[in-house]
Amino acid sequence: MEDLKWHIGWVACLAVLLCQPLLGCAPKATTGAFTNVSSMDQQLKRGVSTKMEVQRLLGAPNGFGSSVVPTDPRPREVWYYEDIEATDYKSEEGLLTMNMRQQILLIFFEKGVLDGYMWTSNSGKGEVRQ
């Protein structure tokens, strides 16, 4: 009988401890802090800014590549940035819902200097997400 009480006590303690992290914290999965694109227009200059200046402002890209646009055959180097974040995911009655935010940024270089960028995000302008 003493053994049984001891075991039940331990199991209860373990259950409380294991459940603790599940309380009060919003689930979040992210690739990390998003690349800050807010000051690109002010700090980078087309035809002037170097790769190192772009790296200083935006950080290291997630990928490197090159492109040739059919109407403009000059080759360009491309830096690729991608950030994804999923928050508040929950499953109810077999349906999984979540808030997902994704941002993709392509930076184009011609002869080693900035030639342009393409940026897309599914985040609304007035929305605050942390």
Partner: protein
């Protein structure tokens, strides 16, 4: 009484087993150019940039810069000088201090993580030679993992330097 003792030992062992997990690293390497051994023996290290959402009191960028500089000096791969043509830039993309107590309670909770990216540039043309990315993490473990937040940058940069050494020797990068 003996059963009670055996039961206690069983629980203690079960908890202790949770602690037998260490630091893991995951790395990716992007080689733009092969390394010319005879061309570069000196390097300049630029201060690391903190690109994380970390809001705590620690100077994460300073800690990472110091750690990278020390690791590079210890490795003997390059002589560090301010006028070198080879330049290392360093970005901290993720830093979580984590908690050993949380890890002890539940593996995966309270993980200590650091992700760093080191790019190797050649001056004066700002040519990128290679990019090394490493994520070090202590995601599970007992109270013996206290202080993981102090050595997590070291683990990440050790991994970066291991990959850099492979690149410099011309051998395929280790995974």
């Amino acid at each position: 009484m003996k059963d009670l003792f055996v039961g206690k030992i069983g629980y203690i062992l079960a908890f202790a087993c949770i602690g037998f997990f260490g630091c893991t690293t995951v790395s990716t390497v992007d080689i733009q150019q092969s390394f010319e051994t005879t061309k570069h023996r000196k390097i300049r290290i630029e201060p690391c940039t903190n690109r994380t959402e970390y809001q705590g009191p620690r100077d994460v960028a300073g800690e990472a810069t110091r750690t990278l500089t020390e690791k590079m000096q210890q490795s003997g791969l390059f002589e560090i000088t301010p006028d070198a043509q080879l330049v290392l830039t360093c970005d901290i993309e993720r830093f979580e201090e984590g908690s050993a107590a949380k890890r002890w309670l539940m593996p995966g909770w309270g993980a200590t993580q650091a992700e760093v990216v080191v790019m190797v540039w050649e001056k004066p043309d700002d040519k990128i030679l290679a990019t090394f990315r490493s994520e070090a993490a202590v995601k599970a473990g007992g109270l013996y993992t206290i202080g993981a937040d102090q050595y997590i940058f070291g683990a990440a940069f050790d991994d970066v330097l291991k990959q850099m050494k492979s690149w410099m020797s011309g051998s395929p990068t280790e995974k």
